[in-house]
Symmetry: C2
Subunit: 333 residues, 2 copies
């Protein structure tokens, strides 16, 4: 295992210390317990958004804290949910009295810990709503999940709900928008290589030299099947098919197409897959009107990618286009 | 070799086709010969900036085409300079009569081909200036270079000179700013793993399981030495020392600190190295006033990173902060 780390025990502490130094204009990092909070939190009168989960998926979630997106992110240890304590502390730190939305990827640990934190916050008089994201069509009831997993679609939920909160929507309205995005977004991923959790020191699984895993989870948990590697276009078709069939997306739909890198895949390859995903959707009469390409929900140094498709309407498009200023997504302000 | 590609021969063509579809709001992709051009080029009265070089370093350079940065980028085959033809075509496409600045990384092939294109453009009545970037302190007269190599500092030259052109500076003034940035920026990199050029199909070099290369070039060309892997902080000190000593940077300097990922390194590790680089500079009285962290000048899927330090003054800081709208860098407009 070759990693740019010091002691595996300190990986998250040292990384968030780096985030604090690199993005002092956008965020404050609180330690003991650790969370990353928008510099100007709590924002008076605004519904606050809190997300979090195991580390190792950066820029998710800390890279999305800032104007127009998250108010706080709570990083757990690598691939391990944060406990209720820091989630509660972050929730208290960002609440301005307008209430807090928890955005939670559907993994058992995350769901339980956010639930506990929400109960404790409620006992302190903070109104909390929770939206659980479960966009991964690959499998149901996976290694760490009851139901579908929450993966790259989480970025779109956070951006669009964040814009709704920023324009002044109420807690119920922001929760409704987040729920709507989750209901209209579907994802699926592929791994070419495994990744190594620092404190484990060994790959979490193995793949043969000519093998890829279709439907991989963002912690390397098993997908649908292992196959011999194929040309990129064929791989795109394998994962885009189940995504399109699921809702289903249909001719005439306008969508946001998001190709996400798992961390170790060159950008040139992401654009090759984006190209074909766009073409396949076009051939079905599905119009790509918004796009996102890059490493946004990663699995450490895993090579691979995922495709996410979100059905848009005028409101979701307007919220997607709204200004955002975070370390990992920024435009238009 | 596992890659998300179809035919290795079509990697660049298919990737730029993806760029065209993903970023149609920002750029137009011209084929035969291939170049990526700002959507609204030529911009009346504005000096135009053209850069380029071998592909495989994305987002460099295509990801930096847009408002406030490059007017065109010319991607060659992977790790191979573009020929003069597409450079000339891009130069003609962006010239509004105010002249064109070529920003060239110091690699022999790039320097020769941009020079030929500049001569041909001049023969067509286009005024061209050229700035050669050579920020890498690791080695002189490397595998593909006479003198120092041009590496991650190129991003800072392109951003700052792009802002000068955008505010209306003349060709001489933009060239002067670019030259100044190059004179004040220094970089050095480290590789943990090699990368595989698609049409080669094999790693361009090998590193033992416990070995890293200090001073690596962005094509995997040799650096200063191979050592056993060390803690991240020790590696940071090894490459930051020669950077600081070179100009030298001194107590009281204000600098931009840029930690660049080589493509396959998790973001969490980049922030760990950023943290320590910031601390080391602070301990020397060097104040980090601007920051950049991420994969901006990559070597395909190579694991590793580089550190770049740019000495700032009020003018360079203002130009760095100026609005930019490109696929890979955007803020403030």
């Amino acid at each position: 295992m070759k990693k740019l780390i010091n002691d595996p025990k300190n990986v998250v502490d040292e990384a968030v210390a780096g985030v604090a130094l690199a993005h002092a204009d956008l965020v404050t990092v609180v330690t003991d317990p650790i969370y990353i909070v928008r510099k100007d939190a709590p924002v008076a009168g605004k519904v606050a958004l809190v997300s979090g989960g195991g580390s190792g998926h950066e820029p998710l979630h800390g890279g999305f804290v800032g104007y127009g997106m998250l108010d706080a992110a709570v990083p757990g240890p690598v691939f391990t949910s944060p406990t209720p304590d820091p989630i509660l502390a972050a929730t208290k730190a960002v609440d301005s009295g307008a209430g807090v939305l928890h955005i939670v990827k559907n993994y058992t640990g995350d769901v339980l810990n956010f639930e506990t934190a929400a109960d404790l916050a409620a006992a302190d008089g903070i109104e909390v709503r929770t939206v659980v994201v479960d966009d991964d069509v690959a499998v149901k009831d996976s290694l760490y999940t009851a139901g579908r997993r929450g993966v790259a679609g989480t970025v779109l939920v956070e951006k669009i709900a964040g814009a709704a909160a920023q324009r002044g929507d109420s807690l119920d309205e922001v929760a409704e928008i987040a729920t709507k995005v989750n209901s209209q977004v579907r994802s699926m991923g592929v791994a070419l290589t495994p990744c190594v959790v620092p404190h484990a020191g060994e790959p979490s699984f193995t793949l043969a030299e000519d093998e890829i895993e279709i439907g991989i989870g963002i912690h390397g948990e098993p997908g649908r099947e292992r196959i011999k590697i194929e040309p990129a276009d064929a791989i795109v078709e394998r994962i885009l098919g189940p995504i399109v069939d699921d809702i289903p997306f249909a001719s005439g739909d306008k969508v946001l197409l998001f190709v996400n890198g798992m961390g170790g895949t060159p950008q040139i390859e992401l654009y090759i897959t984006f190209r074909h995903a766009f073409e396949v959707l076009a051939s079905k009469g599905i119009e790509v009107t918004r796009t996102l390409v890059g490493n946004y929900v990663t699995s450490l140094e895993m090579q691979g990618f995922s495709i996410t498709v979100l059905k848009l309407d005028d409101e979701l498009t307007e919220l997607w286009d709204a200004p955002v200023q975070t370390a990992a997504l920024r435009w238009g302000r």
